[in-house]
Symmetry: C2
Subunit: 316 residues, 2 copies
């Protein structure tokens, strides 16, 4: 049978050359291909262009490759949480192309689908539109964006089989399925490598046709960027204690509480990073809304209680 | 909690007006929203524009709505297997827009994603390109296609819950997830309606946010268009007996056998309708290939034996 299994991360990345373009899965620190990044640190390959939603933190994820100066250019949607990234960007040592998050996802998908360009309303009238074609459709302005492709796409999945079929868990899925389709060579590292035929075909998120190499990863740290928990029960008394590790001023909570009054029964609500995520703690009890995390999962609740903390279920 | 359950098909389709644009899931006769089509026959709604891969057969699927002259226009990729469709097309009674199958899927997806136009190589230099903008990217010609949207999308899923989350089975999935995202109102009929929370979030194919109405369907016929089975074991002796219901000339098998010699170990092979599907019966024993059905499923084998026939696993 078709067998795409390689021994380990070192074997999987050994032919990645200086100057290559890589796509790397992950949102924040969730779903990071940790083993492959470690292997890239060992090969010392340089002048990489990395396409990834963000660049990890100073000592985790792509942040590690920034520190060793192996990255020439980042194509991302977010630069926060990483001081070295900020320093290299401001000093001009690192090229950075910043994109709206949906545009990043869609450009990657277009690369996988063979679509060289498409029109999107995101970024019209902003810096993002500079130098790009603007066109009207039905009286609304759109700008033209082009596909993104990579020499290598590197993703981390939950389960995979020897033919490269992949299943992700929770928000660890994020950009990875699109990236798998847009890489000339796609490398998948998985927590569990299972025999061919043991995954239910209906449950596959990435069909093996998109994956060229797969290996079982090890020693996953699965770090959580901002580990925030609720008390076991949210009562009127502890409602304002939303965080045990981050310090949140009362004014932010008041803003969040006011925003929560705009919600109506049956709404789907997307909560971005910052104050918006606090809104989840103030949903009035008489209405039901479905919360969407910034990375796409629907049905997000308030901060988890201690026992339910899961690095594969993170939010902005 | 959010509850999108309606009583039955009649309630789900009752506000579909004359002149509406509908998307209807299904590939061939696989994954047809049978209950909703029956309900549309009862309302007698007219002048419909139907976006669907094909139009069923004379007495099943959209074919039933053609017979009652409820359809003004079809946007499809295939017109075969339906004499009434052919008659109305040739007599000019029915408007038909024929599209390459991938273009149809991508235009529907674009509608759901908010992308008014995109570039594709499919159809360049053919009748499909007439009146469309052609543009070069990296020295290759592409034509611009526009999004498709619908007043109502009607899909049939295997399992669904009261919030509208859907899971499909096998090739019955086909165009349905994209259609669910591109309809102003999406109606889902399901074989099993399960309580909210009983479907594993990782397994959901269509998140409930795209579905406005859901009901448990009944009396599914799940007709198979061309029911073709293998003998239990394919031996040298019975290799040429590939069909019990269709008559296949020896020359076609000879062509298929010759084509099969072009396959190399590890190939992914897409088999279109007609002689190509016969190739599956002649794969040399010393190589392993992964067969893709025309409607997207990977890992298709030869014709099933009698006991394994499944209307949700069809091929072209």
């Amino acid at each position: 049978m078709i067998n795409k299994v390689v021994k380990n991360a070192d074997e999987a990345v050994k032919d990645i050359q200086n100057g290559s373009t890589l796509m790397l899965g992950g949102f924040g620190l969730c779903g990071i291909p940790e083993n492959s990044i470690d292997a890239l640190l060992r090969t010392g390959v340089k002048d990489l262009t990395c396409i990834s939603n963000n660049a990890g933190v100073d000592d985790f994820g792509i942040g590690l490759l920034l520190k060793t100066r192996q990255v020439k250019k980042m194509i991302s949607s977010y630069v926060g949480e990483n001081q070295e990234f900020e320093r290299q960007l401001l000093s001009g040592e690192l090229e950075v192309e910043l994109l709206p998050q949906g545009t990043l996802a869609e450009r990657i998908r277009a690369g996988g689908a063979g679509i060289p360009a498409f029109f999107t309303p995101a970024g019209v009238g902003t810096e993002v539109a500079e130098g790009k074609e603007i066109r009207e459709f039905n009286g609304k302005s759109y700008l033209m964006e082009s596909w993104l492709k990579a020499d290598f796409s590197i993703v981390k999945a939950w389960k995979g089989d020897s033919a490269g079929n992949l299943i992700f868990k929770g928000t660890a899925r994020n950009f990875s399925p699109m990236m798998a389709s847009a890489g000339k060579i796609t490398i998948a590292e998985v927590e569990e490598l299972v025999p061919l035929g043991s995954l239910n075909p209906n449950d596959i998120h990435v069909p093996g046709i998109y994956v060229q190499r797969i290996f079982k990863g090890s020693n996953y740290e699965k770090r959580i960027e901002q580990r925030t928990v609720s008390k076991p029960k949210i009562t009127e008394e502890n409602k304002n204690i939303v965080s045990q590790k981050t310090t949140v001023g009362l004014d932010k909570n008041q803003i969040a509480q006011r925003i929560s009054q705009e919600l109506k029964d049956g709404y789907y609500v997307n909560l971005g990073i910052g104050i918006p995520t606090l809104v989840a703690n103030f949903i009035p009890e008489h209405i039901n809304v479905v919360l969407q995390s910034e990375n796409g999962l629907l049905g997000i609740g308030p901060f988890p209680i201690e026992e339910n903390v899961d690095a594969d279920l993170i939010n902005a």
